[in-house]
């Protein structure tokens, strides 16, 4: 059983917690030992947030260290840049091509870096960076909140779990009435790769 280290980064309130829950439950169903470490409290109010997911035959520390992540899922591109040192050489980055300006940028004191996706590709290898406008896809599906499921769909292609397990885990993690739209978003992400 190969160990997989992952971090999920984004802006507080973007739904990173649901994503880690879905991944964690899927790992449990596949009989992995798994630990997930989350951030609650103040940074959930629009701050930079990071969730760690570690799975394998045995896991001690719940945290992923710098240069240890096999996969980074970034809900926002500046956050991808902020945490990129966590990606190990040859690791994959799934990045939502969305820009949410932090306060220093909003007030004009600092600049939002340009061409982030290009720079990330340059740093990590062209084929290792999977960029997607998940917000656009979510809007087309009629619910901006399913951005995370589009990203989970892409992740599913990088992971050794069966699709059925993913769908089961999604079903258990989202409210019943939103299962269909979440499933659709997952399928779109899954189909992109």
């Amino acid at each position: 059983m190969k160990n997989v280290n992952m971090i999920i980064v984004g802006v507080g309130g973007q739904g990173t917690l649901l994503t880690s829950k879905i991944i964690g439950n899927a790992a449990l169903k596949e009989s992995y030992h798994v630990k997930v470490s989350e951030v609650h409290g103040m940074s959930q109010r629009g701050g930079s947030v990071i969730t760690y997911v570690k799975l394998g035959s045995s896991v001690d520390s719940p945290l992923v260290e710098k240069n240890e992540a096999d996969i980074i899922i970034a809900f926002e591109k500046l956050e991808a840049l902020r945490w990129i040192e966590y990606l190990k050489k040859g690791g994959s980055l799934v990045v939502n091509d969305q820009q949410i300006n932090p306060m220093p940028v909003i007030t004009g004191r600092e600049k939002y870096p340009d061409n982030i996706i290009e720079k990330l590709r340059h740093m990590c290898g062209y084929e290792k960076v999977i960029a997607v406008d998940a917000l656009k896809i979510a809007k087309e599906l009629g619910n901006t909140r399913v951005v995370n499921l589009v990203l989970v769909g892409i992740l599913a292609r990088l992971m050794p779990f069966s699709k059925e397990i993913w769908l089961e885990s999604i079903k258990e993690s989202v409210p019943t009435k939103y299962y269909d739209v979440n499933k659709k978003a997952f399928e779109v992400g899954f189909g992109l790769m």
């Binding site: 964690g24 449990l28 997930v36 240069n67 902020r82 932090p102 940028v105 007030t107 720079k119």
Partner: protein, 583 residues
């Protein structure tokens, strides 16, 4: 059945399986989810108490009445509950009593980094510390057994990374525990000097017995590996150490007070180099040193912030991280912000315009201290805003008070603000206090409180009437204002700071994230009308973006609260969808 559970959720499960009947708490990160999850069990009575002191007193009452009881709080909450803690240590318990305390090394969501382990030592109470979710559940159950066997409260200490990490837990059944008999026993439960003197003797005897227990308890275990390096550790530090030192020997403590002295001696004698690896202060290390044992610990490791596997490898093994991806790019920081539509925003805008000195308090609104609002001068602890405003007046006089306000949330006011307000009235102060009444405890994830009108289980409850309360303690000037109406708000604040008596302003608007709160939908900026004066940017709404050449509203963030429209003098902010190009 196996489940992936948050440490806090596993604590709740442990309480359920241990047959707990009464659970109390005041919400505080990282402890909040313990009691939120306990409230989901129908067999357990759960409540949000007004503060941690009351919460512990309720739990003590329940324990003496014969029920297993649990009381949960964050580290600073234990300061509030310290008064009953030190004496319940003397009275002991009837039904088991467990106190959960969650420390926050690294201060992810706290105002200090205190190490609550010292409370166990100071109050003569045993303390357990789990290292993952499974242990969270098991140690809570063990804590109840210890509490009843040794007739004392037991503290179980978590840290953020334990409380907020998910790992696998095997669920068990609820123990069939019935209420213990209640017996009147003044010698044990009435702590007047004569009785307390006798009880203190019992406490010291108990601690000795607990010391022996610690040596034999399976809670403390040796994991032999290579004997070159031996590591004494507990909690999350155990996990980091395990990962950094694959082959070393470990003495893993589940009971961190009292420590197992014999076991430590035995372990130390067998290993060549001994490390004590713990986060924050030298709690274990100093105790081990007192046994006359030489150890390495805080001479190398920091007392500030969290540890990590990487740090242990670097500082103790001299292994730096291998270079991976890196960036030279300057990445702007992303501090937390008040949500779009937050009712607090208008308040701080007005206070900043008026250039007032603002004593602040603990909650989402503490974010009013950050730019561009930047209108908070102090924040110390729950309720401090009010007493501090009064202290400033007594130090600098009435003139200063006319340029000062205290700002406090509704839940924080109930927690610890009322007594401060009484002080102002009683001691002839003239301070102006603003209660930000958003009908919820926001920062910790929206818990009900005595002002919100609902209990933890969502049942309707009586609401504290803040206006009547203020009048009853002798405040004659009480005003209720809508903070979205910034002009009116400013007028009211001006009037109240200028009068020679105490006043209370209640800023009333529900939190923008509450279910029932609906806005009109996103706004947008009409580029033809906008003169790029940037006044709207001063409120620091994350939905308003300065693009340099123009101002833009991020429509996925904006709910349409309309606060920015009140600032724009050119009528340039309008409903999105009014313009043709939008469709």
């Amino acid at each position: 059945m196996k489940k992936l559970m948050l440490g806090n959720e596993a604590v709740a499960r442990g309480a359920y399986e241990a047959g707990v009947m009464v659970a109390t708490a005041y919400p505080g990160t990282p402890s909040t989810e313990i009691t939120e999850n306990i409230a989901k069990y129908d067999d357990i009575y759960a409540e949000w108490s007004p503060n941690e002191k009351v919460a512990l007193e309720v739990a003590i009452g329940a324990s003496i009445a014969g029920a297993r009881s649990i009381c949960s709080m964050k580290h600073v909450g234990l300061n509030v509950a310290a008064d009953p803690l030190f004496t319940v240590s003397y009275t002991g318990v009837n039904g088991g009593l467990v106190i959960m305390v969650a420390d926050d090394p690294g201060m992810h969501s706290s105002q200090n980094e205190q190490d609550s382990r010292f409370y166990a030592m100071a109050a003569n109470v045993p303390m357990l510390e789990p290292a993952d979710s499974t242990e969270c559940k098991e140690l809570v159950k063990e804590a109840f057994r210890i509490s009843e066997e040794f007739d004392c409260p037991v503290i179980v200490r978590l840290t953020t990374r334990i409380a907020h990490s998910r790992s696998i837990v095997e669920l068990g059944e609820r123990e069939d525990i019935s209420l213990r008999e209640y017996r009147k026993d003044p010698g044990k439960y009435v702590m007047m000097p004569a009785m307390a003197r006798a009880r203190h003797v019992e406490v010291e005897k108990r601690m000795k017995r607990l010391g022996d227990f610690s040596n034999q308890a399976t809670l403390n275990r040796i994991e032999w590996g290579n004997r070159d390096i031996g590591i004494i550790t507990s909690g999350i530090a155990y996990q980091y150490s395990r990962e950094a030192f694959k082959d070393a020997s470990f003495l893993k403590l589940g009971m961190v007070y009292p420590i197992p002295e014999d076991l430590i001696r035995e372990f130390a004698a067998e290993v060549e180099t001994l490390y004590v690896i713990e986060e924050l202060a030298l709690f274990l290390e100093n105790q081990v040193k007192q046994l006359g044992i030489k150890v390495t610990g805080k001479d190398v490791l920091p007392v500030v912030g969290e540890l990590s596997t990487g740090m242990l490898k670097e500082k103790l093994l001299g292994q730096g991280p291998e270079p991976g991806c890196s960036t030279e790019e300057k990445v702007p920081v992303r501090p937390p912000v008040m949500c779009p539509g937050c009712p607090h925003r208008g308040v701080f805008y007005v206070l900043k315009q008026m250039k007032l000195t603002v004593t602040g308090d603990i909650g989402c609104y503490t974010l009013g201290a950050l730019p561009p609002l930047g209108s908070m001068d102090t924040c110390v602890c729950m309720g401090a805003s009010i007493g501090m405003a009064h202290g400033m007046e007594k130090a600098r006089g009435r003139e200063f008070a006319s340029k000062t306000v205290a700002v406090i949330g509704d839940s924080t006011f109930i927690h610890s603000g009322i007594t401060g307000l009484i002080d102002i009235v009683y001691n002839n102060g003239t301070s102006t206090v603003i209660i930000l009444d958003n009908s919820i405890t926001g920062m910790t994830g929206h818990q009900h409180n005595p002002v919100s009108g609902y209990t933890i289980k969502g049942e309707p409850a009586k609401q504290v009437d803040l206006v009547k309360l203020a009048q009853a303690i002798g405040i004659e000037r009480v005003r209720v204002v809508d903070p979205y109406d910034i002009n009116e708000f400013e007028k009211v604040v001006k009037e109240e700071v200028s009068v020679d008596e105490p006043s209370l302003i209640i800023s009333k608007r529900p939190c923008a994230l509450l279910k029932g709160v609906k806005f009109e939908g996103p706004l947008r900026i009409n580029k033809e009308k906008c003169k790029i004066c940037r006044i709207c940017m001063r409120i620091g709404c994350p939905a308003l973006v300065d693009k340099g050449s123009h101002i833009e509203i991020n429509e996925t963030l904006c709910g349409g609260c309309g606060l920015c429209t009140r600032l724009c003098r050119f009528d340039a902010i309008e409903k999105a969808g009014d313009l043709n190009e939008k469709c």
